[in-house]
């Protein structure tokens, strides 16, 4: 099972954290600092796995961002690399060649997508298309709600003019 997902920038800034196992706020900060130190300092040609506190952390760098997932000892590291790539591809499709800034300003979107991909620390969907479709459907629900709200506020505004 995946215990947590971390997105860390090359400067060590946290871009996304998702915890599937309980970690207290203090532990979370510690984990992030510790892993950031280990992973950011690793050379580019080394393998993508780090043994850490009896777990394995699989990480992969895309542009300026490190995508890290912490898994159990007997999980399949290569598959997790594939899951990371899967996630990146979906983000890429959603944002249209995604960059770090997209993930900063639309961090909640990145979370929504992750929630359609992983649940309870396990993979939920292997089809990129399905994930995209589900996200689009929910986005449009939000849009509709917003439009309704603004039309109501327009009506109110006109009525109170």
């Amino acid at each position: 099972m995946i215990h947590f997902v971390l997105l860390i920038s090359r400067q060590g800034k946290v871009r996304l954290t998702k915890w599937y196992s309980p970690y207290s706020q203090k532990e979370r900060t510690k984990v992030i600092r510790e892993l950031g130190g280990v992973i950011l300092n690793r050379g580019p040609k080394l393998c993508n796995f780090v043994d850490w506190r009896g777990f394995k952390v699989v990480y992969k760098r895309y542009a300026s961002l490190y995508f890290c997932m912490c898994i159990d000892q007997d999980d399949n590291e290569l598959e997790v690399l594939e899951i990371i790539h899967h996630y990146v591809e979906i983000l890429d499709r959603y944002f249209g060649s995604v960059c770090e800034l997209d993930l900063i300003f639309n961090f909640h979107k990145a979370y929504y997508i992750l929630d359609e991909l992983l649940l309870a620390g396990e993979l939920q969907e292997s089809s990129k298309k399905t994930v995209a479709r589900l996200i689009a459907a929910q986005d449009s629900l939000v849009e509709t709600a917003k439009e309704q709200a603004s039309s109501i506020s327009n009506i109110i505004a006109q009525a109170t003019k």
Partner: protein, 877 residues
């Protein structure tokens, strides 16, 4: 501007935070935003609640406290619109975890949303439940989730399946409710549902053996067929990764099959064909393919034996191992580690490649490879493998050296075929990475050297050589210092030269130089310096020509700020100056350290007495002393052991024995008195040498002073003397000290009795919980003074702490109490406390001794006081 908007938009806040140049600026912005959000919360602002929560989440990611926003999540979740719920659930998952009580408040909203008509809202609720639910919530909401496993929309079914995993992990009792619905998920066509269904079954098998049996019987064939269809399926663009249809599903199916096949021949048989097909057909040029192969190999290794498949799997691993991609090599090492239990021979074939990986530039690979090599070592290959490992020790970086050193030491210790090899390897490790060696490792080395009597000379010379080249390795210096102190004469005289050794010329002053260097070295720590001082003391008697110089070096530490060194310096100096006559006996070679005791200590993880940095001269022999029960036997053993040693002639040997026992007797230099007559020395030896120090075991003590025992030990010693004088070695040398001692003690045991300083030990005090025994002796020539050794034995099953013995005597007596050996008395006679006292009777011959005693101690920090009177002393004291 919109009249309803207040504060900044999310985007603006992020921008403002990003433009901060210092951490202080950032804190200021965040503080301002948090203040605004708090204000909005207290005003119960509705319109911007979701925006505020989004801001809070961002602030939370930066690591600032956001607990005040937790209730906002609950409010958003409770509102009716989808956008509010969406952000509310996201905030809930981000800001809270299962351990917060607040979470319980959301159970009701979750229940409602799980029954909502909008499937996306159901999806949100399932997602939150799956990610953060606690055991209570799992119990409350399990029926809803179970029902949703049959929901019409597959996207809800898959979420419900993963949510069920969380539930059964939190509450394994609920597993049986999920077995049937999970099994029906396996028949689905939708990949998402299938993947999550397979995963749910896997986790059910882990928590419930009932589930395992059920799936094994009912689903194995179906799963094999699904995997077969998948492997043979035509190109499916939606699920295709690198030419393979849905590798994720492949991997999950293989994982479930592994669990089903493990320990079940029929199920294993059923999946053989498809495993062979996957192992041969999947392309290994892309990561996705390799991931499947890796999983497949794992499954083949775990299920019941099928020789052909195993060969296939090992070959795949061999291919992986020679791959240039580090990731692939890493997983290969990882899997070989599991394969070693299945087929060690096949793994051994890849030894050379694995050893290469220990030197890899990648720390992760190095560590995995080292773990694997550690498992590969056995008696037959330990020599070449250790050689390789020591070579890679030279090349490795500081961080890795620690891990590597520990592993090498443990291997050398475990598999060493002979002592000389062990010593050689340890020397290499010490000179290369001595600073990483743990205390018990170099202690063990000293014990081994001490036990290898024919290698003493070799070891000390090798250590001396190593010491010349690498003085910066602390533990090497320590072992070298110890050996030079003990076997310095062998170093100088080239005693016990082996054929393989190169001749070396070391003068006495060279050896002293080495010790001086180790004391004066800036980075020597206290232990090393203290050990070097002892070594110098020892050399002072072995190298008479250097004794003046040694005295100077010892004296230089007289003003050391470190109490330990200062004390040693002063005490040793005192020995050198005032006690010439006993010095040589005092600093005799250590007796052979007992390996069994030492390893016993290590196993019990007791601090070895050698390890304490304050380990003083007298602690060393005591700490490693043998169990008191068999001192004589040990001494005799020693003689047979040492006989082949070139320079231990009979006379030396006896002196050895005496020296051994003498050193604890006279080690407190201030108080020790030069013995007056041979008899007394021997008596002292017997009583002190065999009555063990505090640490040693229970029966300890009262043995000795009882006349009978005294006799036997004397007889034994006599026997020993005759034995040694009969032995050819002794006749050749028969040196003076032995004669002297024997002369002094010449007459038979009876004479000793006439001298009268032995009395039966008496039970001076006994209650249901405690016994105090007195061993009484007289100082010769001083009939007024009686020496009493009080031995306390605990008769209860409780440990006594803060044990304190007090005694009072009438005016005609004078009492002097020495400190007790300990203030803790182990339970049920498992040890004792010994305390000596001296009573001077001014009316000797007229009145006999009498004493009032008071004993205070604590049981489980409760005070206990016992009092009594001792009036059963022998009359003539």
């Amino acid at each position: 501007m919109n009249p309803f908007s207040s504060g900044t938009r999310l985007r603006d806040m992020i921008r403002a935070i990003r433009s901060c140049k210092t951490a202080a600026e950032e804190r200021a912005v965040v503080r301002k935003e948090c203040a605004a959000i708090r204000a909005a919360i207290s005003e119960n602002d509705q319109d911007y609640r979701h925006r505020n929560l989004a801001k809070l989440m961002f602030i939370h990611m930066l690591g600032y406290p956001t607990h005040f926003g937790q209730m906002e999540c609950l409010k958003l979740i409770a509102s009716s619109g989808f956008p509010e719920k969406r952000i509310g659930y996201l905030g809930l998952m981000l800001l809270l975890d299962e351990r917060q009580e607040v979470l319980m408040l959301v159970t009701n909203s979750l229940k409602q949303d799980l029954n909502h008509s909008n499937q996306y809202i159901i999806g949100l609720a399932l997602c939150a439940l799956g990610n953060i639910c606690s055991a209570e919530m799992a119990r409350d909401l399990a029926p809803e989730v179970e029902r949703l496993l049959q929901f019409r929309d597959p996207n809800i079914r898959k979420k419900a399946a993963l949510c069920s995993i969380r539930i059964i992990k939190k509450v394994p009792d609920l597993a049986e409710n999920f077995i049937n619905p999970a099994a029906s998920l396996l028949r689905e066509k939708h990949h998402g549902v299938l993947i999550t269904g397979v995963q749910l079954c896997t986790d059910l098998c882990k928590v419930s053996s009932e589930a395992l049996e059920y799936f094994r019987e009912k689903c194995t064939e179906g799963l094999v067929k699904t995997l077969k269809d998948m492997a043979n399926s035509p190109y499916a663009p939606e699920y295709d990764i690198a030419g393979i249809t849905d590798p994720f599903l492949h991997i999950r199916l293989l994982k479930l099959l592994r669990i089903l096949g493990q320990g079940d021949a029929d199920a294993s048989d059923c999946m053989n064909d498809i495993l062979a097909q996957v192992a041969t057909k999947i392309e290994s040029n892309k990561n996705a393919g390799n991931a499947i192969l890796y999983e497949c190999v794992g499954t083949i290794m775990s299920i019941e034996d099928n020789g052909g498949l195993r060969v296939l799997a090992i070959n795949i691993l061999g291919r992986f191992l020679s791959n240039r991609d580090n990731n692939i090599r890493y997983v290969a090492l990882n899997m070989l580690m599991k394969a070693i239990t299945v087929d060690a021979q096949a793994v051994q074939r890849h030894r050379a490649t694995i050893l290469e990986c220990v030197k890899d530039s990648d720390a992760s690979i190095r560590k995995k490879a080292l773990d694997l090599v550690y498992l590969l070592v056995n008696e037959s290959n330990v020599k070449p493998l250790t050689k390789e490992l020591i070579e890679s020790l030279e090349a490795s970086d500081q961080e890795f050296k620690g891990v590597l050193t520990a592993k090498i030491c443990s291997l050398v210790e475990k598999f060493s075929p002979e002592k000389i090899w062990y010593i050689d390897q340890m020397l290499k490790v010490l000179s290369e990475a001595g600073n990483f060696v743990k205390d018990e490792v170099w202690h063990a080395l000293i014990v081994v050297i001490s036990n290898a009597s024919d290698l003493h000379g070799y070891s000390v010379r090798a250590l001396y050589r190593a010491f010349q080249t690498s003085t910066e390795q602390e533990t090497l210096v320590r072992v070298a210092v110890w050996c030079i102190g003990e076997y310095g004469d062998m170093l100088v005289n080239n005693v016990g030269m082996l054929d393989i050794e190169e001749p070396i010329t070391v003068t006495e002053s060279d050896a002293v130089d080495a010790l001086e260097v180790s004391i004066k070295r800036l980075n020597s720590d206290l232990t090393t310096k203290a050990m070097a001082l002892i070594a110098l003391l020892k050399l002072s008697s072995r190298f008479p020509s250097c004794s003046e110089r040694i005295k100077d070096i010892i004296l230089q530490n007289k003003r050391s700020f470190v109490l330990e060194l200062q004390q040693r310096s002063i005490e040793f100096n005192c020995i050198l100056q005032k006690h010439q006559n006993i010095r040589s006996a005092l600093v005799e070679r250590m007796p052979v350290l007992d390996e069994a005791t030492f390893s016993g200590r290590r196993a019990g993880s007791l601090p070895t007495s050698v390890s304490t940095s304050t380990g003083t001269a007298r602690n060393l022999p005591n700490g490693i002393a043998k169990p008191a029960a068999a001192p004589v036997a040990d001494l005799l053993d020693l003689s047979s052991d040492d006989a082949p040693a070139p320079n231990s002639s009979g006379g030396d040997f006896l002196q050895d024995l005496l020296g051994v026992d003498l050193s604890p007797a006279s080690a407190p230099p201030g108080t020790s008195q030069p013995p007056k007559a041979g008899t007394d020395v021997l008596l002292d030896l017997l009583s002190i040498g065999t009555s063990p120090p505090a640490q040693s075991s229970s029966s300890a003590s009262n043995i000795l002073s009882s006349i009978q025992d005294d006799k036997t030990s004397l007889v034994n010693l006599n026997g020993l003397a005759s034995l040694t004088s009969l032995s050819p070695n002794a006749t050749s040398a028969s040196p003076a000290p032995m004669m002297d001692l024997l002369d002094g003690f010449g007459p038979s045991p009876q004479k000793k009795e006439e001298n009268g300083p032995a009395y039966p030990s008496l039970v001076a005090y006994e209650s249901s919980t405690l016994r105090m025994t007195f061993n009484i002796s007289k100082q010769p020539g001083n009939p007024q003074t009686t020496l009493i050794q009080a031995i306390f034995t605990n008769l209860s099953p409780n440990v006594y702490n803060d044990f304190l013995f007090q005694a009072a005597v009438p005016k005609f007596l004078q009492l002097h109490l020495d400190p007790a050996s300990s203030n803790t008395l182990p339970a049920s006679g498992n040890g004792s406390i010994i305390q000596s006292m001296k009573v001077t009777n001014s009316q000797h011959g007229k009145k006999s001794l009498v004493m009032r005693i008071r004993i205070a101690y604590k049981i489980n920090s409760k005070d206990v006081l016992e009092e009594g009177q001792v009036s059963n002393f022998p009359r003539d004291l």
